[in-house]
């Protein structure tokens, strides 16, 4: 008897799964499904929810304008829960179960690495909106965030031009800071500039007393900061209390955008530099329109930032590529995407056919009292991506997915 109850229960379970699938396939054919895969819960939710919102905004706008190839875009949202195995599972579900044509999502390199085998084995397409450490050029990923030579390297160039002589590298202990610093070290070495220290703190670490002390005693005049998230509060507080501030000691951050600036506290961050491809204060017609639409939908107190912008224009680039290819199939879209461009908030962006990365703007901003960045520098022209900087590696990209 006990087992009979069990049997009925599990039968019900199996059939409820089956029913769901049946419903999905019977849906009307005038829509095209895409996946949206971000962490909506867990530690990364604070950053990734905004990216999901930006993606949804773009989808809504495209749908309101009549959709793509006569079809409305139907987004299927899944939660990666800040957990890499969950990302793998949800990516498999979106592609295998829901049959989405492309996926917009991921933030951390860890989550991208976790879903990459899924996208490659099922030959689907991921639009990845965040700057990252490079050393990757998959056929199945369109990178709309910056490669190292579009954020880290020009920022180092800027610091060198400012006359900085002694560099100190600080980062959180995970893949992005370590790999970014590997590239930075190669760059500084080739310029003949001294690195006076390199320190890592565990993710979420808040006590930066000893690191700040080390920066002070090293006599560094430039700090390159790849510390992530909340840890920055402790880091900048400690820097401030030791009197380490610009112009004597200039700190350049690579992971602090408008959203994080709000969280860290404007008073702590004021006057600090960051390097990105887009700032909310950037003046362009497309940006004004984007900010207006974003704030109308999500609230007037919302700020936009670099990954949000990249998550937004990624959808438009996808739509343009679909139109060009006259097909939703990932292969055709990947082939066509390098032949289209889009007037994004940061400027007219397009995809490099060799690396699948975006040809992007570059800017340096200084945090002001209003929680925004004043743009100090903007690259004279769009920068072509180079995910495998020649100073750090011998590898070269021949074509997307073909690296030698």
């Amino acid at each position: 008897m006990r087992k009979l109850v069990l049997f009925i229960a599990s039968l019900a379970l199996v059939f409820s799964c089956k029913q769901k699938e049946g419903k999905a396939s019977a849906e009307e054919v005038s829509t095209v499904k895409v996946g949206v895969l971000h962490s909506l819960t867990g530690t990364m939710a604070i950053s990734e929810t905004d990216c999901k919102n930006a993606t949804m905004l773009a989808i809504e706008e495209i749908n309101a304008a009549g959709g793509v190839l006569g079809k409305q875009i139907e987004p299927i949202i899944e939660d990666g829960a800040s957990d890499w195995p969950t990302f793998t599972e949800k990516a498999t579900k979106l592609i295998g179960q829901d049959g989405v044509k492309s996926v917009f999502g991921c933030w951390t390199s860890s989550s991208r690495k976790a879903v990459l085998p899924v996208f490659e084995s099922k030959n689907s397409l991921l639009f990845y909106p965040v700057q990252y450490e490079g050393m990757e050029a998959s056929k199945n990923v369109i990178y709309t965030g910056a490669a190292p030579n579009q954020q880290i390297l020009p920022a180092v160039d800027y610091m060198i031009k400012e006359g900085k002589k002694k560099f100190f590298l600080v980062g959180s202990d995970y893949v992005f800071p370590r790999t970014a610093n590997k590239i930075i070290k190669a760059k500084l070495k080739s310029e003949g500039i001294e690195i006076v220290g390199e320190e890592y703190a565990p993710l979420g670490h808040t006590d930066f007393t000893s690191i700040a002390q080390k920066i002070k005693s090293s006599g560094a005049d430039a700090v390159l900061n790849t510390v992530n998230g909340d840890s920055n509060i402790g880091f900048f507080k400690q820097m401030k209390s030791l009197g380490l501030s610009a112009p004597e000691v200039t700190c350049m951050s690579f992971s602090i955008a408008e959203v994080e600036l709000k969280g860290i506290g404007v008073d702590i961050m004021e006057g600090q530099l960051t390097a990105w491809n887009y700032f909310m204060t950037f003046k362009s017609e497309a940006n004004d329109k984007f900010i207006k639409a974003y704030q109308t939908k999500y609230g007037a107190d919302k700020v936009t930032d670099d990954p949000i912008e990249a998550a937004y224009f990624g959808v438009y680039l996808w739509a343009e590529a679909v139109k060009k290819a006259n097909s939703f199939e990932p292969d055709a879209v990947q082939q066509a995407i390098s032949k289209v461009s889009y007037n994004a908030p940061e400027g007219v962006v397009s995809i490099d056919p060799v690396t699948n990365h975006t040809i992007k703007n570059f800017m340096i901003g200084r945090a002001n009292a209003e929680g925004q960045f004043d743009i100090l520098y903007q690259s004279p022209e769009m920068i072509a991506p180079d995910p495998f900087p020649s100073i750090a590696t011998d590898k070269k990209v021949i074509a997307p997915g073909n690296i030698q």
């Binding site: 049997f7 890499w84 195995p85 793998t88 690495k113 099922k122 995970y174 893949v175 993710l203």
Partner: protein, 345 residues
């Protein structure tokens, strides 16, 4: 007798049915749940029967998983990519033997058992009990996970290990491989179910249950209870390691998040809701809760944690002794159950 045969047949149908009914994706999710059921059995053996609560079982699970992942990674790349970008140019010595499958499979058990002995021997010999053991088990898990995150060049850091090509000659995600892994997971869970059932019937099994009920009395009788506890911990760790080794080819990734305290606590919750100290309870708990977790997160991606939490609160209120534990107490159920038993005899 007749009823027993019917039961076995029904069970066999339940096990085989999903292979034909479910899509590849759903079947691999189900396999994952079955793997978690193995973990739940192992936690229950220690907590439900011996009364030792470990909130750090994720570490044994992850060690088994890492051993398997190291083998699978070396099959995909002679020098793992994360070593390359961490500046390690030759394969470290302790990675080399993982090129062989038998060695890796052996390690999925040896590593967790070794750690369990390292933890268990000094702690139980010194008489650490109750909540103190629980706290230390958490600390050890935290230490190992920080070690794994920090040693990026050797362990893949916070990314974990992913990017496998395949296993047993099939590429990852291949429908045949998914079916093989499902069969393997079910076979292992059945085997481990019967192993624990057998263990609990032996003299040693009775003693560990006595430890749970009144350890001091047992010591008075001259039993060295610490040895039994060490042995149970090691057995439990070995089961967890096997589960971890199955998890990796099914899910396609191992990361330090699986040895987190959060994950370890979830293991205990499955046992508590399924029915602590019952043989079937942990299996049911792991299947039901993970099914609920997946369906909640798919239908309400932003708010699912609330419903997941409500489920736990509701479960503690409605079935305080777990699903199976509470069912056993119900009179009608007990009557039927006893009837069944007498018929057998």
């Amino acid at each position: 007798m007749k009823q027993k045969i019917i039961c076995i047949l029904v069970l066999a149908v339940i096990i085989i049915l999903p292979v034909f009914l479910l899509s590849d994706f759903r079947l691999s999710i189900l396999s994952k749940f079955v793997v978690f059921a193995i973990v739940a059995i192992s936690v229950n053996l220690l907590w439900g029967y011996t009364g030792v609560l470990s909130l750090g079982h994720g570490v044994y699970f992850a060690l088994g998983g890492y051993a398997m992942a190291m083998y699978m990674k070396l099959q995909a790349q002679p020098l793992p990519d994360f070593m390359e970008w961490s500046g390690i140019e030759t394969l470290p010595w302790f990675w080399k033997p993982f090129q062989s499958l038998p060695f890796a499979l052996a390690m999925t058990v040896i590593l967790p058992v070794t750690l369990a002995l390292l933890v268990g021997v000094p702690l139980f010999k010194s008489g650490t009990k109750g909540v103190y053991f629980t706290i230390i088990s958490q600390a050890i898990t935290l230490i190992v996970s920080i070690l794994f995150v920090g040693q990026q060049g050797f362990t893949g850091g916070s990314n974990g290990i992913t990017g496998f090509k395949g296993v047993f000659g099939y590429p990852i995600g291949d429908p045949t491989l998914i079916k093989i892994l499902y069969g393997l997971a079910v076979a292992v869970v059945i085997a481990i179910y019967f192993v624990s059932k057998f263990m609990l019937r032996t003299h040693g099994g009775v003693i560990i249950q006595a430890i749970r009920d009144r350890e001091t009395r047992l010591r008075f009788l001259g039993y060295r209870t610490d040895s039994f506890k060490i042995l149970t911990l090691a057995t439990s760790a070995a089961m967890c390691g096997v589960a971890g080794a199955l998890f990796v080819p099914i899910v396609g990734i191992i990361s330090p998040s699986l040895m987190s305290i959060l994950m370890s606590t979830e293991f205990v919750i499955w046992v508590a809701i399924g029915g602590r100290g019952t043989l079937l309870g942990p299996i049911i708990g792991a299947l039901v809760i993970n099914y609920a977790k997946t369906s909640f997160s798919e239908s309400l991606p932003e708010y699912w944690w609330y419903f997941y939490g409500f489920l736990f609160i509701a479960a503690t209120l409605i079935v305080p002794k777990g699903i199976v534990g509470t069912l056993k107490e119900k009179e009608w159920f007990q009557n039927r159950f006893n009837k069944l038993k007498t018929e057998h005899e």
